[in-house]
Amino acid sequence: MNGNEKSPKDGPRAQPPFGRVVNITKTFQAGGNTFPAVKDVSFQFRKGDLISLLGPSGCGKTTVLKMMGGLVPSSGGLIELEGRVISAPFPGVGVVFQAPTLMPWRTVLSNVLFPMEVLGKNDARANKRAHEILNLVGLDSFEHAYPRQLSGGMQQRVALCRAIIHEPSILLMDEPFGALDELTRLEMNDLLLDLRRVTGATVLFVTHSISEAIYLSDQVVVFSKRPAVIVKELTIDIPYPRSAKTRFLPQFTEWERQAGVALGLVHQ
């Protein structure tokens, strides 16, 4: 990269995207053989977008997500965020996993404050923000509880708070609601949309649920089976705020059908 566009924020002309992925590939080596996991994946997104990476289980979409967080090095291609090339972990990324992955020895509040502690910013302001976001997810009265005293859905809400406490510029979510029951999952979808509205976070969301991807996203990137290749990109133009009614709109069903076709589940 030449780096001649240092500040992408100013200047309305030819604004570069907030983030972009160009031709990234990933190969794994095992027993002298190389296995392609991700092949020539390219897409881009704007600040504040919610992008779903949709694909069958084990297709390599999680690998794409991890490469975007600098957690896994790519074997080729380019990842750019706010004009910076990503090749290693960087501050300003929040992660949520499929399991809540809280520290059982810390209280809810202390779990949420963990990133601030590590970043050396665990001050009164951080504390206040922690209270605020816990309040936002309805867990303000559980601040001093230990994770094991909470239900799975509540724990995942704590994990969400922990991921956004340090105001990351990008939030990486790896099938975060996949382990929850259906009702909790629907609830968490709305909670995520609320959080995004309030924080303005850019979210990359890995899922294998078609309806979840469409309900949440501005943009859905559909992947094939391993190795992950993009088979379709859908720009979901259903306006926010979305609600339970959204799921019954004819457009919604049409998007679902298109995603299904792209995944090879529905024949045209």
Binding site: P89, T101, V118, H144, A145, Y146
Partner: protein, 255 residues
């Protein structure tokens, strides 16, 4: 409430039944006091020898505690090194495992030569017996840290020390405690073996002396005190576990 009563009632009732069987067996079969004293004779011996049992018990207790502390102080760092250095692991782990096939009792005379008949050889014996489970369980605990938590640490760019002290060590704590619980009981065995091989104090020594004088009630009294000592030490480790790991306590302790 009734659950907490039964928690004490049933073990006591079980012990009472055994003691009663023991008592009536000795009385009805007219067993000689040298072969097997009655529970009451043992109790009487405990009261008569309360002072010497306390003094010797204290010596043994110190040996156990020091040996146990040593097994933690040395066992945990060994586990840490073995976990984080692949080379150290490959070089020394097989030796460590092989060393465990040596009967520990056979080591005792050597320790006696090295450390003399004082307390040092006893706590060395307690250490030799007790440290292995600490190493194995600590290493297991450190290895079983959730990969997602490690990834979280990486995404936040935690330093190695931060990752170790804030994530891996607390994750390993439950395993460390299960190793410590085994170690503390083994340290009692180690201390007594040490005293058997060469000592002029401690409960093991008292037991041997009483045995050579055919003072069976005192032998059984020493055994009883040893067993109580073991239970107290075990209880202290459990207490430490509760204090250091309040998060693992029962859910109904909430607020």
């Amino acid at each position: 409430m009734s659950r907490s009563i039964s928690r004490f009632f049933y073990p006591l009732a079980g012990a009472a039944i055994i003691v009663l069987i023991w008592h009536y067996y000795v009385v009805l079969m007219q067993v000689s006091i040298v072969v097997l004293p009655t529970p009451l004779q043992v109790l009487k011996s405990m009261i008569d020898n309360a002072r010497i049992l306390t003094e010797e018990g204290w010596v043994t207790a110190l040996e156990c505690v020091y040996g146990f502390a040593l097994s933690l102080a040395i066992g945990i760092p060994i586990a840490v090194v073995m976990t984080y250095s692949r080379i150290a692991n490959q070089m020394f782990y097989p030796l460590l495992v092989a060393s465990q096939s040596i009967p520990k009792v056979a080591v005792a005379p050597i320790l006696l030569i090295w450390f003399g008949t004082g307390i040092k050889s006893k706590l060395a014996m307690a250490f030799v017996i007790a440290f292995f489970p600490v190493v194995v369980d600590t290493a297991t605990g450190l290895r079983s840290t959730s990969p997602d938590l490690l990834e979280l640490a990486r995404s936040l760019q935690c330093t190695r020390l931060q990752t170790f002290f804030k994530i891996q060590l607390p994750s390993a704590l439950p395993s460390i405690f299960s190793g410590a619980k085994i170690a503390v009981t083994l340290s009692v065995i180690g201390a007594v073996i040490g005293e058997f091989i060469g000592s002029n104090e401690g409960l093991g020594n008292l037991l041997l002396t009483a045995n050579s004088q055919l003072n069976s009630p005192l032998v059984w009294a020493s055994l009883t005190v040893l067993s109580v000592l073991g239970m107290i030490l075990y209880g202290l480790v459990v207490l430490a576990e509760k204090l250091l790991m309040p998060w693992a306590a029962d859910v109904d302790l909430k607020h």
